[in-house]
């Protein structure tokens, strides 16, 4: 017994030595043992810790993949690109290699599933609302990094979809006025996706973006622990504290949520392992079939589909045709008009007018909704002043913009309550429509153009309507969130 006590004393001594030099104990207390989280977390609150788990999985498996992968587009003796062959080398000749590779490739899709559900949780319970705006914005940064990481990483296996997917996306940048064509060459480092592109994408994928990602994840957590977690009731637990200054409805993250999250992790791992071991291709959605063919810059595949997690945004890009622009402009005008009416500030009103006029010119130039010939055309650096900007540019703007719209949520949502539990039917209906649209857009993005639901409902108008619903969810939020008949929030969290 005395030996154990001596050992405990020794341990305390060592900890004391460390604490004098590094705030180990206080960090532990601040972020785990004395971080008080609301006790009423439900199912939706598993996905934050799961995202962290998948991030660690991607980094650890990624390290081992980099040990064997070769970012080299030149041909080997059998006429196969070295990069492609090195992935198969990992799959066949590296001990445990196929397991590590499948963990990484399945992890990529799992990351997006988990993050989309994590973001949806934010939408459900108003986790982006004051005082958590920065938590949300750091999260947006993480989401953007994740998209970049997935995009750059997808080139590395050097299959047909890798190369042509990258070619399509990089080509989008050529739609940017004036600098576009040079910009896309600058990004690729060549006129087609080639060895130069592979090497730089490799650098972005294995070091540049992961560094930023880790920084943002730390910032996300630091900001979260500064303000405290939201909860399914959307009420602040810090408002009701006991005599010791501890939130009455709060429980220490460790051990309560660590043990709860371990349970969540084990359920997640069961599903994850089921995919890794029994369906690593994910039915062609996680590993696209055509990507088992080496990239050939001379042979365009008939249908280039991005991986599933990009398809909602890709669908919106495709929906933005010149026929769609009048509807889009109508939406812009209504939103600008509403802002004009509801805001008395003269500068805001001028901005609204400018946006309405500016987008008209940008969409249609000096024509009547693009239907008539231009009054005159004046071409400066490839920008046709009489015709407005190309619909392709607006498609790209739509794709980027539709992602960035999430960042404005903290300021768009004007509802007196945070949580869906106390919001009215109006918000619930619109959120449901938004979710349905997002899923439909995602499905359409995996299909070739000309696709029809059940063979009869053409995909294009569905995509157009879904895109408008997606935009309306954000664009009209300041108004419908005020109109919504909310219920009063409870004083304390509801529990059991």
């Amino acid at each position: 017994m005395s030996q154990i006590n001596a050992l405990v004393d020794k341990g305390k001594e060592v900890l004391g030595w460390v604490d004098e030099r590094f705030p180990l104990s206080s960090l532990y207390k601040e972020h785990l043992a004395e971080y008080y989280a609301p006790k009423n977390f439900n199912f939706w609150y598993f996905f934050g810790s799961l995202a962290l788990l998948v991030l660690v999985n991607q980094i650890v498996t990624g390290i081992f993949l980099v040990m064997h992968y070769k970012p080299d587009a030149s041909m080997n003796g059998a006429g196969i690109p070295v990069a492609f062959a090195s992935v198969e080398y990992i799959m066949r000749d590296v001990p445990g290699g196929s397991f590590i590779r499948y963990l990484h490739s399945t992890g990529a899709s799992a990351f997006f599933i988990v993050v989309y559900l994590h973001m949806f949780r934010g939408l459900l319970y108003g986790s982006y609302r004051k005082p958590r705006e920065l938590v949300w914005l750091f999260g947006m940064g993480i989401f953007l990094c994740l998209m970049g990481e997935a995009f750059f990483g997808y080139l590395l296996p050097w299959g047909q979809m890798s190369g042509w997917g990258a070619q399509v996306i990089v080509n989008l940048f050529s739609a940017v006025p004036v600098i576009g064509p040079d910009l896309s060459v600058f990004i690729r480092g060549d006129f087609v996706v080639s060895d130069a592109t592979l090497n730089r994408f490799f650098a972005f994928h294995v070091i540049a973006i992961p560094l930023v990602l880790l920084g943002l994840v730390s910032a996300h957590l630091i900001a979260l622990h500064e303000v405290g977690s939201n909860n399914p009731d959307g009420v602040e637990i810090k408002k009701k504290k006991d005599a010791r200054g501890i939130p009455i409805d709060g429980i220490p993250f460790h051990p309560y949520y660590t043990v709860k999250d371990i349970f969540g992790v084990s359920i997640f791992l069961i599903i994850f392992a089921a995919v890794v071991f029994f369906a690593p291709e994910g039915g062609g959605y996680f590993l696209e079939f055509n990507n088992f063919v080496p990239y050939d810059p001379m042979k365009t595949p008939p249908h280039i589909a991005p991986v599933w997690y990009f398809t909602p945004f890709y669908s919106m890009l495709r929906a933005t045709t010149s026929d769609f622009l009048p509807a889009l402009w109508a939406l812009v005008v209504v939103v600008a008009g509403l802002s004009f009416v509801s805001c008395k500030n003269v500068w805001v009103r001028r901005l609204c007018a400018l946006v309405a006029v500016g987008t008209y010119w940008g969409f249609f130039g000096l024509t009547v909704f693009g239907k008539t010939p231009a009054l005159f055309d004046f071409d400066l650096l490839g920008v046709h002043f009489g015709k407005g900007l190309d619909a392709k540019f607006w498609g790209v703007a739509m794709m980027g913009g539709s992602v960035l719209l999430f960042a404005f949520l903290p300021w768009l949502d004007q509802s007196p309550v945070k949580s869906i539990r106390y919001k009215g039917g109006l918000y619930k209906t619109i959120l449901s429509l938004f979710v349905v649209s997002f899923i439909l857009l995602g499905i359409l993005g995996t299909k070739a153009p000309g696709y029809a639901f059940f063979g009869v409902i053409p995909g294009e108008p569905v995509a157009a309507v879904c895109t408008l619903i997606y935009l309306c969810f954000f664009a009209f939020m300041p108004w419908y969130s005020r109109l919504d008949k909310t219920k009063p929030e409870p004083e304390r969290v509801t529990w059991k």
Binding site: Y89, K260, S266, F278, E281, V293, S432, A452, G455
Partner: protein, 255 residues
């Protein structure tokens, strides 16, 4: 909340319903289900067929000869019966045909086939189904440089490598109304006009073995992976139960 739940359910159902069946409507290709078998007898026969009939032009450059020990062959058997272009059993199954020459002769260099069963999967069926149908769909077509055409892969550059086994098929054409008042000529069916060494059922069985080998070759460790999967799932199941009990025990004092 109820309304939201309902709508979410509708969304999920839509997603599930739209995911699979629609895709098939878009493509007209009808593939036969390949009777894939991973028995050693099938795989060994498939390996024999592959080496004898395919490896003249197609390599399997990600597969090493000594991997074939996994399908029940000894290294000596592999050396004696399957290795023609190398004497190192650890060598990859590469071919001597130069890509530049092949391109000149066939219009396109014959692709490496190690991954073909994975690459040919589509919404119409598995890669095995595609290969099984493809290898049984060659027919005589004098308009093609090789004298062969294929229903599954129209105007394919490859001649019918297994013709001596299957014999020669010809296409029976049928003229149909396309539904818009135009006449279109379609292939109704293929008929064996000159029998080969094998009866049609025997030929199908040989192709099935070859396809099984191609599927195996696409990921030689796939059976090990699935076997390991059950153990991993069982272990994770135990972990989940323990984790649940642990959580339950800790959360007893949360009121």
């Amino acid at each position: 909340m109820k309304l939201l739940n309902k709508l979410l359910c509708v969304a999920a159902l839509l997603g599930a319903a739209l995911g699979t069946p629609l895709a098939q409507a878009a493509t007209e290709l009808k593939l036969d289900k390949a009777p894939v078998s991973f028995s050693n007898a099938s795989l060994q026969n498939g390996a024999k067929l592959f080496v004898n009939y395919c490896m003249g032009c197609h390599g399997a450059s990600f597969l090493r000869y000594n991997r074939l020990t996994q399908i029940g062959l000894t290294e000596q058997q592999i050396k004696d019966n399957l290795m023609f272009s190398t004497d190192k059993v650890g060598e990859q199954m590469k071919i001597a045909l130069r890509r530049e020459d092949a391109k000149q002769w066939f219009g396109v260099a014959p692709p490496d086939l190690t991954l073909v069963a994975r690459a040919r999967a589509s919404e119409s069926g598995t890669g095995a189904d595609w290969l099984y149908t493809y290898l049984r769909s060659f027919y005589r077509d004098d308009t093609r440089p090789t004298g062969w055409n294929n229903v599954v892969f129209p105007n394919v550059g490859m001649p019918h490598a297994l013709w001596s086994l299957q014999g020669e098929q010809e296409a029976r054409l049928v003229t149909k109304d396309d539904g818009h008042g135009k006449k279109v000529t379609e292939i109704e069916k293929l008929e064996v006009v000159k029998p080969g060494l094998l009866m049609p059922e025997e030929y199908d069985a040989q192709v099935a073995d070859l396809v099984s080998f191609l599927v195996w070759m696409g990921e030689p460790s796939q059976e090990t992976r699935r076997g390991l999967g059950w153990i991993v799932l069982a272990a994770l199941g135990v972990l989940a139960v323990l984790a649940y009990l642990l959580k339950h025990a800790y959360w007893k004092d949360v009121h």
